[in-house]
């Protein structure tokens, strides 16, 4: 491809293709005091996307309880951090990869696992467990079988290869997911509390380092393809789905943890969905500083990549870090050992601006503070979900034949055994899995200790659909019960809010209701939210998915030997029913 500079002409169409409304674009103009060039527009579009800015959900998310005696770091960083005693911390988060998994189930699910792993080890934690919450369409829909097979293989293919056990999850089937499956992946890691790494850049002049895999033209927004300057074959060059490389990820985990054992790192951030743009902007923005990057120093997989492409690429298995001055050689030695790319691509500045240079020439320059403080935030109109008539047990006719009823129940895909799924996951690597899939919560021993973490993911979307408030509360309560059922104390949750189009008041009402329910349950149970992810616009042809706020719960048990499973152990044991 030629190296022609990208067209500077920003037409209303180009703005719309970047997902910005005319009002939002006006804000860009005000902030810039001039027309942005295409690269700058790309940065705005990424930072103000729903995905990065949480513009539709923020006002509601703010109402969730996020603090507590055991919370070390709540939402806002790459993942949430809780105190698990002995100077140790558990770090965890759940994230969706819905759309890519529908298009390319294997790679979509695989890169979803890769992304959430990076969120966790970026903070200094060794990932010790993966879970996944999956929703597929109706089992007899022609696409379902292929999607299930691909997603499960992809999750296994990535997790098994990096050597992190996949210990639990949940799987539902419902026609509302026919055209929009949900793939939510959760990673839990362990770190020493005095070795947790955050993303705020510090120390003007400090070197900014790029490590991991090279940057290619992966996932660059389809929106930009209309621009005339791209050649005819540009479509072939712009895969919108990334291919994951778990091998590189495994090396990246080991290399980062090796470097993190020392004290060379000032700040670190993985290049997630919004790539180099969000990582550099967030690191500098959080530090209240500026950052200058030399695009030509970024390791690239392809020739002729423009600054726009480099900044918007969603290539996987990459990290950005700020080092203490003079520590580059030490870091490079480690990344060389693991045969990963390593490049000093810029430095921290005091300008408060993101400045991008290509062969010395400035190709973008925008102020960071307003990018955050003036980011759009919407309180979208919403309608409460109408209350449904209560159905009591007495309203339902008793089944004539109990054994038929039982068979129907256990034969239903949601209830049937998921063993054929979890046997494709390596659940015992790392040698600390005490309880794996098949029971209530899973249990992973803290390496070298007696204590362990109880982990579960839960949501019953049809409850949330019927009554978002109670359904949201129920998901939290179920996660609490699953953790309690193995003998552990629930500590905190992560959430993954999967909903339809928030611009429709009915959908927004589901979201608001679910948040309210989650909030009430978390407060009542002293079970705060320490991290989460929002995935909106899960619709096909105007048909929204069932509202699906997946909850990932983490609990602690002092001694894994005292945990209980669901297995009946001997003849003559008593069965006791408790509860309401």
């Amino acid at each position: 491809m030629s190296q022609t500079p990208v067209s500077e002409k920003i037409t209303p169409e180009v703005v719309a293709q970047h997902g910005l409304t005319p009002e939002e674009y006006q804000r860009c103009l005000n902030i810039m005091g001039r027309e942005p060039n295409l690269t700058e527009l790309g940065v705005f579009s990424m930072m103000w996307s729903e995905h990065c800015s949480y513009k539709s959900s923020k006002v509601h998310l703010k109402t969730l309880p996020t603090t507590g005696p055991k919370v070390i770091c709540g939402p806002g960083e790459n993942a949430g951090v809780i105190d698990i005693g002995d100077g140790q911390a558990a770090i965890f988060k759940m994230e969706s990869h819905n759309h890519p998994s529908f298009i390319e189930p294997y790679q979509g699910a695989a890169t979803g696992v890769g992304g959430i792993l990076r969120d966790v080890f970026t903070m200094g934690a060794r990932p010790v467990a993966n879970l996944n919450a999956l929703r597929f369409g109706s089992p007899d829909h022609p696409k379902t079988r292929h999607l299930v097979a691909g997603v499960v293989a992809g999750i296994g293919g990535y997790g098994n290869s990096v050597g992190v056990p996949t210990v639990g999850g949940e799987t539902n089937f419902h026609a509302s997911y026919n055209g929009n499956i949900l793939v939510n992946a959760m990673t839990v890691g362990l770190a020493e509390q005095d070795k947790i790494f955050y993303s705020a850049a510090a120390g003007p002049g400090n070197p900014v380092i790029y490590v991991g895999a090279k940057t290619g033209r992966d996932g660059i927004h389809g929106a930009t393809m209309a621009s005339a300057e791209f050649s005819e074959d540009s479509e072939a060059k712009r895969p919108t789905v990334q291919v994951g490389d778990p091998f590189t990820e495994k090396l990246l985990i080991e290399a980062c943890l090796e470097l993190m054992a020392g004290d060379a790192i000032v700040a670190i951030q993985d290049m997630g969905a919004a790539g180099l743009t969000s990582s550099s902007v967030e690191m500098a923005g959080k530090g209240g500083l500026g950052i200058e990057l030399h695009i030509d120093r970024v390791p690239m997989r392809e020739t002729g990549m423009t600054p726009y492409e480099v900044m918007l690429s969603e290539s996987q298995e990459r990290m950005l870090m700020v080092l203490k001055p003079g520590r580059e050689a030490e870091a490079k030695r480690i990344f060389d050992k693991w045969e990963l790319d390593f490049a000093v691509i810029g430095n921290v500045t005091t300008t408060g601006h993101l400045v991008l240079r290509m062969h010395g020439e400035t190709v973008a320059d925008l102020p960071l503070e307003p990018l955050f403080s003036q980011a759009p935030e919407y309180n979208r109109p919403w309608e409460p979900t109408p209350a449904q008539a209560e159905i009591t047990a007495r309203d339902v006719a008793a089944p004539k034949d109990l054994s038929v009823a039982l068979k129907t129940l256990i034969g239903c895909p949601d209830v049937a055994s998921k063993r054929w799924i979890w046997e494709q996951y390596d659940s015992s690597v790392m040698g600390d899995t005490v309880l794996k899939s098949g029971g209530d919560a899973s249990l992973v021993r803290v390496h070298g200790r007696r204590k362990g973490l109880a982990l579960t993911t839960d949501c019953t979307p049809r409850y949330v659909f019927a009554d978002p408030v109670r359904g949201g509360a129920q998901a939290v309560a179920e996660s609490w019960r699953n953790i309690t059922a193995v003998g552990a104390l629930p500590i905190a949750i992560t959430d993954n809010m999967n909903f339809g189009n928030p611009e429709r008041p009915r959908i927004m009402g589901q979201f608001v209701g679910a948040i309210q329910g989650i909030r009430e349950a978390c407060l009542a149970l002293e079970y705060p939210v320490v991290s989460g992810n929002v995935s909106l616009y899960n619709e096909t042809n105007g048909e929204a998915i069932l509202p699906t706020p997946a909850i990932g719960g983490v609990g602690l048990i002092d001694d894994v030997a005292k945990a209980v499973g669901i297995k009946l152990n001997a003849d003559g044991e008593s069965l006791v029913l408790i509860g309401a």
């Binding site: 091998f247 495994k250 090396l251 045969e339 979890w422 690597v429 040698g431 899995t433 005490v434 894994v560």
Partner: protein, 229 residues
């Protein structure tokens, strides 16, 4: 007993096997990087499970050519005991220390579950703490564990007593439905001619702790401890 565990890029059971070895033998193994060319003075080399070089091209193919493996091959041919677990077994066949090849499971999928394998020989450095015919319960975790060799090789393995373990049911019967991956003649592990090199698909290191996987795998490490100390 002194042990070296070779770490390839992409190994992921290196720590697990080191923990098992240390717990059972009382001595921490040396972790040897694939790019090293020298082995420390040891009684045993372990090639751990995982996805060396991502299992790209073929499982074990690239690891078989890494610098340390030249030394390992040399010493193994002169009698140094080598235990290859899962990916380690794949590496051993790729480098020709063991015959045959490991292919994709017949069901294609990755399988992680407990299986039963029968100890075929009890007179080896790896199995002297078991009796022949003992059935051990042990996890597998692989998608490429379907052992293949031509008929002549299989016959030779049988007549020379080089089949180390076979997949079986709980009672020790060699049934096809107890064969998780389609391996020829239910083979789960084999020895070289001198029975000093063992390749084994299941993970004994994951069956050394009653809390996480039972203790049926301990016998392998206990046997080695007895034979090599």
């Amino acid at each position: 007993m002194k042990t070296a565990v070779v770490v390839f890029p992409g190994s992921n059971c290196d720590r697990d096997v080191a923990v098992a070895v240390e717990n059972i033998t009382g001595t921490k193994p040396h972790m040897v990087w694939h790019r090293d060319t020298e082995l420390p003075e040891v009684d045993l080399v372990v090639l751990p499970g995982g996805f060396s070089y991502g299992d790209y091209l073929r499982a074990g193919a690239m690891a078989a050519h890494s610098p340390i493996m030249r030394t390992v091959k040399d010493k193994a041919e002169r009698g140094l005991p080598v235990l290859g677990i899962c990916n380690g077994f794949q590496v051993l066949t790729e480098m020709g220390l063991l015959p045959g090849a490991l292919m994709k499971n017949r069901g294609i999928k990755f399988i992680n579950r407990f299986v039963h394998t029968r100890v075929e020989q009890s007179q080896t450095i790896f199995t002297n703490k078991y009796s022949a015919g003992t059935v051990i319960s042990i996890p597998i975790a692989h998608s490429i564990g379907n052992y293949f060799a031509d008929e002549a090789t299989l016959d030779r393995l049988e007549t020379r007593g080089l089949v180390a373990f076979r997949y079986c049911d709980e009672a020790g019967e060699l049934r096809d439905d107890a064969n998780p991956n389609g391996s020829a003649r239910n083979i789960a592990g084999i020895y070289n001619e001198t029975k000093t090199v063992l390749g084994y698909m299941p993970h004994p290191e994951r069956a050394c702790d009653p809390l996480t996987g039972g203790t049926d795998g301990r016998g392998i490490f206990e046997s080695l401890l007895g034979a090599l100390s």
